[in-house]
C-alpha cells in the first residue's frame, strides 16, 4: 500500500490555496463551526471528555498529553493565561509557519476553544520575530474574527469573552522553551526558569498559564467536530491522530505532510506521494527523526521500518519524534559535518544561564569543526564524549539526563551521541588520517 496524507489540520490550506487565510475562505470551509459547538458544552468537559478521549499530545516537541497539561492548572486561581508557542525555530521544522501563514483562522479558532475550556480571557501568541508575513496574517485574522463575533466580548452570545494579543519575539531559539518564552513575554531576557513551579501553577505574571503549540491548538477544532473518541481511532497506540511532518534534505519532494501516526519512516521518506525517495537515487545514510534536538537514525531496514510512534521510537532507539522535522541525508553526506553545524546552532542559541551548556556547547562545536574540516585528532571522539557527559551524564541515555535547567544543553549532545553510536569507525578514521581536505558540502547535490 502506498502511504498518503490524511488531511485534517492541513485540509483547508491544501483545498483553498487561493484564499485559505482569509475569513471568507475559512468560513467557506467550515471555520468556527467547532467553536460554536464548543460554546454549547460545559467548559470543563472539553478537556476532561473530548480532548482526553482524543489522546492528543503536544505537537511542539515534548509530546505531553494536552488534556493532562490543562488539568494541572491551579484550581480557582484567576486570571489564568493561555500562551501559544508559535516561536518555531527547531532546525528544519516549518509546519507552524505554514499553519500561521496559510490558515491563521484554524489557530484562532483553536485558541478560542482552548481558552473557553480553561476559562481564560486573555491569550498571547508568542510568534517568532522573523515571521513578518505570519504576523500580518494573524493580526488580520484576529481583527476579522472580532468583527464576526468569534473573539472579543460575549462571543456568539455565549457570555464568554476573549482577547488575543500577538507578541513578536526577536530572534532567540531558547524562547521556544516554555518558561523562557514566558520570561520573554514579560519583557525579560529569554532565560528558562527553574521548575517547579510549573507554568500551570505560576506562569505568566506568576498566574496559572497553559502553553500550547500552534499545531496542537489547530487540531482542537477537528477533535470537537469528530469527537475525541473518533479522533483517537486514528494513529497508533498512544500516538493518536495525525501529525504534520516537515520533511527536508535529500528527498525528491520536501514539504509538510500530514499523515496518520503509525506509518513508517520508509513510507514518509520513500512513498511517491510523500518524500519520493532521494533525488540522486542513492541510499539514505542517516536521518534525523524529530528535529535537531533528537538523536539520529540510519538508513538500515530496522530504522526505516520503524513506525511514527512517539513512545516506540523513544523506547526502542532513544530518539524522539520531537517537533516533527525529518531531515534526510544520502550517502554523500559527511555525518560529522551535520553534527558540527547543529552543534554550532546550539552553541549560538545557548542562553548562557547554565555553565555546562554555555561552555560545553561551544567546545563541542569547536571539536566537531576540526573533525569535519579535516583537522581531527585521534582522541577527539572521546573528548567530545567527555564534554557531552558534563552536560548530559551518560550521553546515550533515553530519556536524556541533564545538568542544565532546560533541555537545550542535552540537545547539543545529540549529534555526538549519534556519531558515537553509528559512525564511530568513520569518525575515528577521519581523525586518524591527519589534516586533509574534506569538501564542506561533501558531494552536495546539484
Amino acid at each position: 500500500m502506498t502511504a498518503t496524507e490524511t488531511r485534517l489540520v492541513t485540509a483547508r490550506l491544501r483545498e483553498r490555496p487561493e484564499d485559505s487565510w482569509t475569513m471568507d475562505g475559512a468560513l467557506a470551509s467550515g471555520a468556527y463551526e467547532s467553536l460554536k459547538q464548543a460554546l454549547g458544552m460545559a467548559p470543563e468537559s472539553i478537556g476532561k471528555e473530548q480532548v482526553a478521549a482524543s489522546g492528543l499530545r503536544g505537537r511542539g516537541g515534548a509530546g505531553f498529553p494536552a488534556a493532562t497539561k490543562w488539568s494541572f492548572l491551579a484550581p480557582d486561581s484567576f486570571p489564568r493565561y493561555l500562551v501559544v508557542n508559535a516561536d518555531e525555530g527547531e532546525p528544519s521544522t516549518f509546519k507552524d509557519r505554514m499553519l500561521i501563514e496559510l490558515d491563521p483562522h484554524a489557530l484562532v479558532e483553536g485558541i478560542a476553544i482552548a481558552a473557553f475550556a480553561v476559562s481564560c480571557h486573555l491569550a498571547f501568541i508568542y510568534l517568532r520575530g522573523e515571521f513578518a508575513l505570519g504576523y500580518e496574517r494573524l493580526t488580520d485574522a484576529i481583527r476579522d474574527a472580532k468583527a464576526k463575533g468569534f473573539l472579543g466580548a460575549n462571543i456568539q452570545g455565549s457570555g464568554f469573552d476573549l482577547e488575543i494579543v500577538v507578541h513578536r519575539g526577536a530572534g532567540a531559539y531558547i524562547c521556544g522553551e516554555e518558561s523562557a518564552l514566558i520570561e520573554s513575554l514579560e519583557g525579560e531576557r529569554g532565560m528558562p526558569r527553574i521548575k517547579p513551579p510549573f507554568p500551570a501553577v505560576a506562569g505568566l505574571y506568576a498566574k496559572p498559564t497553559v502553553v500550547n503549540n500552534v499545531e496542537t491548538l489547530a487540531t482542537l477544532p477537528h477533535i470537537i467536530a469528530m469527537g475525541g473518541e473518533r479522533y483517537a481511532e486514528l494513529g497508533v497506540n498512544k500516538s493518536t491522530g495525525t501529525r504534520i511532518f516537515s520533511l527536508s534534505g535529500h528527498v525528491k519532494r520536501p514539504g509538510n505532510y500530514e499523515v496518520e501516526l503509525g506509518i513508517t519512516f520508509r513510507d514518509l521518506i520513500f512513498s511517491p506521494e510523500l518524500g519520493g525517495g532521494t533525488p540522486s537515487g542513492r541510499p539514505v545514510k542517516f536521518f534525523i527523526p524529530g528535529g535537531a534536538s533528537s538523536q539520529w537514525l540510519t538508513g538500515s531496514d530496522e530504522h526505516l521500518d520503524a513506525p511514527l510512534d512517539m513512545d516506540f521510537v523513544q523506547q526502542t532507539f532513544g530518539v524522539m519524534l520531537g517537533s516533527g522535522a525529518v531531515m534526510v541525508y544520502d550517502d554523500t553526506v559527511n555525518p560529522a559535518l551535520i553534527a558540527w553545524r547543529l552543534a554550532k546552532f546550539f552553541a549560538h542559541e545557548s542562553c548562557g544561564k547554565c555553565t555546562p551548556c554555555r561552555e560545553g556547547a561551544g567546545w563541542i562545536e569547536k571539536v566537531l569543526y576540526r573533525i569535519s574540516h579535516g583537522e581531527g585528532r585521534p582522541n577527539d571522539l572521546d573528548l567530545l564524549f567527555s564534554v557531552g557527559n558534563s552536560i548530559s551524564p551518560g550521553v546515550l541515555n533515553a530519556p536524556f539526563t541533564q545538568t542544565t535547567i532546560c533541555p537545550l544543553g542535552p540537545s547539543a549532545v545529540s549529534g555526538v551521541a549519534s556519531l558515537h553510536k553509528y559512525f564511530r569507525e568513520e569518525v575515528i578514521a577521519m581523525c586518524s588520517n591527519g589534516p586533509r581536505a574534506i569538501p564542506v558540502t561533501a558531494g552536495a547535490m546539484q
Partner: protein, 169 residues
C-alpha cells in the same frame, strides 16, 4: 535619563506605542514590540529609542538595554536599509546556503545599505536554500539569484519592509 522624555517616536508611532503598552497586564511586556516599532521607524534600535521605551514602560534604560541586547533581531548600531539574513543551517548547508552567504558578503562588503548576516534555520527548508530580506522570505536560491533579489530591493523593483519586518518606516 531625560525626565521630560526624549520624544523619539514620531506622532503616529507614539499613538501606536501607547496602544501596545495598553495590551499587556504589565507594561514591561511591551519592551520587545516597542523595540520592533522603533527599529522599523529608525532602521536600528538607538539608545534614544531605548530611553523613550523605558519611559513608556516605566523601567530604566538599563533594563530595556538588558532585555534588548539578548535578541539578535535588534540592531544596536546602524545597519543600513536592508538586513539580508542567509540561512546556513543543515538543510541549507547541504543545498548551497554557505555559498550564497559568501557571495553576498563579498558583493556587498562595502555597501552601507546592505547588512548581510548568517542566520539559523528560517523554517523554509522545503524550499532551501533560503534567505530573508527585512524578514521577507526568498526561497529556492543560488548565489546569482540571491544577489539579483537584493539588487531589486536597492533599485526599488521590490519594496522592502522595515528593518524589523514591519510595514511602516
Amino acid at each position: 535619563m531625560n525626565a521630560s522624555g526624549p520624544g523619539h517616536f514620531n506622532a503616529a508611532n507614539l499613538v501606536r506605542a501607547h496602544e501596545i503598552v495598553a495590551q499587556y497586564p504589565k507594561p514591561k511586556s511591551a519592551i520587545l514590540p516597542l523595540a520592533h516599532l522603533a527599529q522599523d521607524q529608525d532602521g536600528w534600535l538607538s539608545p534614544d529609542a531605548m530611553r523613550e521605551i523605558a519611559q513608556l514602560v516605566g523601567e530604566t534604560p538599563a533594563e530595556v538595554l538588558g532585555t534588548c541586547s539578548f535578541y539578535t533581531m535588534f540592531k544596536r548600531t546602524p545597519c543600513g536599509k536592508y538586513v539580508v539574513s542567509v540561512c546556513t543551517n543543515v538543510t541549507c548547508l547541504i543545498l548551497g546556503g554557505p555559498e550564497i552567504l559568501e557571495h553576498l558578503e563579498e558583493r556587498y562588503a562595502d555597501d552601507g545599505d546592505v547588512h548581510v548576516e548568517e542566520v539559523e534555520c528560517l523554517a523554509a527548508c522545503d524550499n532551501a536554500p533560503s534567505m530573508q530580506v527585512n524578514y521577507e522570505f526568498h526561497e529556492h536560491l543560488n548565489p546569482e539569484v540571491a544577489a539579483a533579489i537584493v539588487d531589486d530591493y536597492k533599485s526599488g523593483v521590490l519594496t522592502a519592509r522595515g528593518v524589523s519586518g514591519g510595514r511602516t518606516r
